[in-house]
Symmetry: C2
Subunit: 491 residues, 2 copies
C-alpha cells in the first residue's frame, strides 16, 4: 500500500474525517455490508481484548461472575417495564420468522410465510428484561442474594446515523446485572462499578473522566438513577463512556422477583445494571491520537515496542535485535521486529506511527558501533539515542512515563477546556468558540434542560459527584440553583 | 435447597434425564423463556471460560488473530453459495423489521409495519458468507495471504428439538476463517486445526477422540472436505465435537475473492473454516460424570480443590485451612473453603460431588492432632488420609493423576466400545446390544450410507485418518471396499 493511501485527514481540516481515517487506515474497524454494523479488524480487536481482559479482572476481583443469557427477548418482556420499552422500542431489530424457502417462482430464496413466529423476538438492545425474568427462578431467599453477574455480549440498537465504534447498530459490550436485598446495597454497587469504570478509564486508557449522576431526562430507560463517566474529546465534545444504573425495584416489580428477608417477610429485590462497550475504542482514539495516526497508551497497546533495522537487516543488527527482544519479553513487554527488506525505514516509521505503537527502536550499524540505538516515543515524537546496555530497563520505565504523560496531557486539556460561566451569553460564546465542558447553574427542571439543548445543542452531561454546593441562578431562567452542573455538546 | 432437590436421576434409569439433571442441578445451564435458547449459569460459564482461554491460546500460538464480524447476514449473501443456503435456509432466524410501535388500539407494543427492511437479515448460523464478502476488500495480492482469523461469537440455528449444550437454537462458539494462496496450504491449515481440536479434547477435556474425514453426505454445506473429531459418550452414542473444513475455492468464487499471485496471475483464494462450540460442554459432562453428578478434569475445573471443616470450623481448623489455601494458591491451584456453619459436612460433600470438584479436603480436629487431613478424589470417590506436611505437593501430583486417570478411563471405555464387524447382522446386533463405534466396510456410496441410517439410525461418523487399507465387502451391499469406516448412533 502506498504512503498516500495511508495518509489521514488533518484534525483541523475535518475532525470527523480524521477520526474515520484513523479507524480505517490503522486497521481498527471498517463498515460492513450490513447497514450500521461494523467489522472489528484484528488490530482493533486486539486492543478491545486488552480492555476486556483488564475489565474482566476488575469485575472478578470485586466478586462478580460471568454468565450468558439469550440473544432474543420476547416482545412481551420488553413491554413489561413502561419506561424501558419507551426507551428502546424505536430501535429494535425484530425477528418474525424462523425459516427461508426457495421462491416458488425460482427466483431465489424468500422468507417462508408458514414459519412466522407466534410472538416476535427482539434482538437484545440490553438484557434487563430477559435477565430479570430468569432471576425470578433464581431468587427465593435473602440467602440467594446478592447476585453479582456480568455478561460479555453483542447487542443491537437500530441507529439511523452511525459512526464506527461510537454509534453502531450492533456493538460489543459487557452488561452487569446485580440483585440485592437492600436499597443501600444496590446504590453502593452502582457507585462501586462507576468507580471501577473511572479507574479503568484513567489508569488503563489514560483518559480522564468526570464521575457524576445524570439528570432525570438523561437517565437510562427504567433506572431510578444513572451514574456516568464523561470524557472530553479533542474537538471539545463530551463522550459518555460508561454508565452504572441504580434500577430501584422497577424490574423486580415488572418481573415479580421477590425474596424472603431474614424476618421471613417477602420483599421486592433491588437492582443495578452497568455497562461499557466498544464505544470506549472511540474514546481511546479521540483522546490521544494526532495527525500522524493512532496514539496508544502502553497498557493497552497490543504491541508496545517495534524494532526497525536501519536501513536493512543484517547479521549485526539481527543479533542486537534478538538480544533486545529477549530482554523485553522477559519483562512481559510485547515487541515486534519488522525485518522486511523491501520496505524502507521511512515507510515503516510512518506505518507504526499510524498504528500508535508507543516506542520504536531504530537499529543502525553506526549507532551499534557506538553501543546505542535510536528510540522514538509515539506520544511526543521525540527521538533519543540510548545505550543498548540496560535498554530493557530503560524502556520499561519509558512505557510508564508515556502512560503517565498521555494521562496528564489529556487531563490538562480537559481542565483547560472546562469553563465556569454565569450568564447564558457567556455559555453560548464558550460553546461556540472554545467548546468543552461548561459548568453552569441550572434550575433543576427538565423543561429548562430541553430548552437549553434546543438553543445550543448542549446537554447536561452530569451533576459531578462531590460537587461543591454553591448558591447561584440558572443561566437560562434565573431561578435559584444550589450547584453547578456540567454541560457540553456530546457524541 | 434440600438434598432431594439436588438428587439426580441414575444413568441406568434414564440417561437423558441424568444428563439434564446434571446440567441443571450442578448449576451449569438452564432453559430460558425463549424457545430453544439456554441460559449458561455462572458455574457452567466458568468452565466454558477455561475452555475458551486454552483454545484461544492454542489458536494464537499457531499464528491466528481474533476479529469480529456482524451478527446479521443479508439474505442475498446466504444464497450465493448454493450448497450453503441449502444447508442453512431451513433453520434461520429472520429479522424483517427495525422498529416497534404502540398498538393504535392501546393494547401494547406491536411491530411497526412502516419499518420493514428492504432486504431481510439472517441472524448468522455461521459466518462464511459475511466474512468472504469482507475478505474481497482485504485481499488483493499474495502478500495479503494467508489471512488467519478467528472469531468468538454467538450463532443461531433454529432447531426444533433442543437439548442443553448439545443442540440449542443459540449457541456460543468460535469460528476460524482462513484464506490461502494455494490448495495445499489450505488443506494443511484445516488438518492443523483438527489436530489442535484433538489435542485440546484429549489433553484438557480428557476426552479421547477419533480424528477423521466426513463422507460427502455428512460434509459441511459448502465444503470440499470436512474433518471431524468424534468422541464416544457413556451411552454408546457418538458426539461430533469439532469440525474443520477445507472449503476449496467455493466461497472465493461465490464472493469473487481473487488475488494476484507472485507471477502476476489472478487466482481465486483457497479457504478453510473450523469451529467448536458450547456443545463441548455436553461432551465434557457425558464423558466423565457419574450418578453423583458432574466429574471435571482438573485442567478445566473452575475450583480444583474444596476444603470442608469436619464437623464445623474452629480456630485450629481455620488455621490449618488458611495454611493449605496459601500453599495451594502459591502453586496456582484454585481452592475454595466452605466455612458455612449451618450446613453439615455430609450436605457439603454431596454438593461438591454434584459440582464435580476434583479434590475434597476434609479437615477434622482428630486428624489434625495426628498431622493429617482426609482427601477425597472425585474421579474414583476414594478417600485417603494424607499428612498436612507437604500436602500442596501431594495435591499438585494428584491433580495430574486425576487428569490422566479420567483420560485413560474414557479411552479404555471407548476402545472396549469400538467393535469391528463384517456382516450386517453383526452390525445391527452390536448397535442394539452394545452401542459404541462400529468399524465396518462400506461401498462408498451415499445411497448405501442413507439406507444403513434408515435401517439402523447409525451414521458414518468418519473415515479415520491413517485408516489401514484393507480389502473387504460392504456390510449392506457386498460391494468391494478398500477400508473400514466408523459407524455409530450419534447426538
Amino acid at each position: 500500500m502506498s504512503k498516500d493511501e495511508k495518509a489521514i485527514t488533518g484534525r483541523d481540516e475535518s475532525y470527523s474525517d480524521w477520526y474515520i481515517d484513523i479507524v480505517r487506515k490503522a486497521g481498527l474497524a471498517d463498515y460492513s455490508a450490513v447497514k450500521g454494523c461494523m467489522v472489528i479488524k484484528p488490530y482493533g480487536f486486539a486492543i478491545w481484548e486488552n480492555m476486556q481482559r483488564q475489565l474482566d479482572k476488575m469485575f472478578k476481583d470485586t466478586g462478580h461472575v460471568n454468565a450468558y443469557f439469550p440473544l432474543f427477548i420476547p416482545k412481551s418482556f420488553l413491554s413489561k417495564e413502561a419506561d424501558h420499552v419507551e426507551g428502546f422500542a424505536k430501535e429494535c431489530a425484530v425477528v418474525t420468522h424462523h425459516r427461508l424457502m426457495n421462491n416458488p417462482d425460482g427466483s431465489g430464496v424468500v422468507v417462508d410465510p408458514s414459519a412466522k413466529l407466534e410472538e416476535e423476538l427482539i434482538v437484545r438492545p440490553t438484557s434487563e428484561t430477559i435477565i430479570w425474568n430468569t432471576y425470578r427462578d433464581w431468587i427465593q431467599s435473602y440467602r440467594d442474594l446478592p447476585l453479582l453477574i456480568n455478561q460479555w455480549a453483542n447487542v443491537v440498537r437500530w441507529e439511523m446515523r452511525t459512526r464506527l465504534f461510537l454509534r453502531t447498530a450492533e456493538f460489543l459490550w459487557q452488561e452487569g446485572h446485580t440483585a440485592h436485598a437492600t436499597k443501600q446495597e444496590a446504590i453502593d454497587e452502582a457507585k462501586l462499578m462507576l468507580d471501577i469504570y473511572a479507574q479503568f478509564a484513567e489508569e488503563w486508557m489514560a483518559m480522564p473522566v468526570v464521575k457524576g449522576v445524570k439528570t432525570a431526562n438523561e437517565r437510562f430507560a427504567g433506572a431510578d438513577d444513572t451514574y456516568t463517566i464523561e470524557a472530553l474529546m479533542q474537538d471539545g465534545k463530551a463522550l459518555q463512556s460508561g454508565t452504572s444504573h441504580f434500577l430501584g425495584q422497577n424490574f423486580a416489580k415488572a418481573f415479580d422477583v421477590k425474596f424472603q428477608d431474614n424476618n421471613n417477610k417477602e420483599q421486592y429485590v433491588w437492582a443495578t445494571s452497568w455497562g461499557v462497550s466498544t464505544r470506549l475504542m472511540g474514546g481511546l482514539i479521540m483522546t490521544h491520537s494526532d495527525d500522524k495516526g493512532l496514539v496508544l497508551p502502553p497498557k493497552l497497546a497490543p504491541i508496545q515496542v517495534v524494532i526497525v533495522p536501519i536501513p536493512k537487516p543484517n547479521g549485526l543488527i539481527n543479533e542486537a535485535a534478538d538480544k533486545i527482544i529477549a530482554d523485553l519479553k522477559a519483562k512481559g513487554i510485547t515487541v515486534k521486529a519488522d525485518m522486511d527488506k523491501k520496505k524502507s525505514p521511512g515507510f515503516k516509521f510512518a506505518e507504526y506511527e499510524l498504528q500508535g505503537i508507543p516506542v520504536r527502536i531504530g537499529i543502525g550499524k553506526r549507532d551499534l558501533e557506538n553501543g546505542t540505538v535510536e528510540l522514538a516515543r509515539r506520544d511526543t515524537l521525540e527521538k533519543m539515542n540510548v545505550p543498548v546496555e540496560g535498554i530493557a530497563d530503560y524502556i520499561e520505565n519509558l512505557l510508564v512515563e508515556i502512560q503517565d504523560n498521555l494521562f496528564n496531557r489529556a487531563r490538562t486539556y480537559r481542565d483547560e477546556t472546562t469553563t465556569s460561566v454565569d450568564t447564558f451569553e457567556e455559555f453560548k460564546q464558550v460553546l461556540d468558540e472554545k467548546g468543552g465542558f461548561v459548568s453552569a447553574h441550572w434550575d433543576g427542571t427538565t423543561e429548562t434542560e430541553k430548552k437549553i439543548k434546543e438553543l445550543t445543542q448542549a446537554t447536561i452531561r452530569c451533576i459531578p459527584i462531590g460537587n461543591p454546593q454553591e448558591e447561584g441562578k440558572c443561566i437560562l431562567t434565573g431561578e435559584p440553583s444550589k450547584e453547578r452542573v456540567l454541560f457540553a455538546k456530546a457524541y
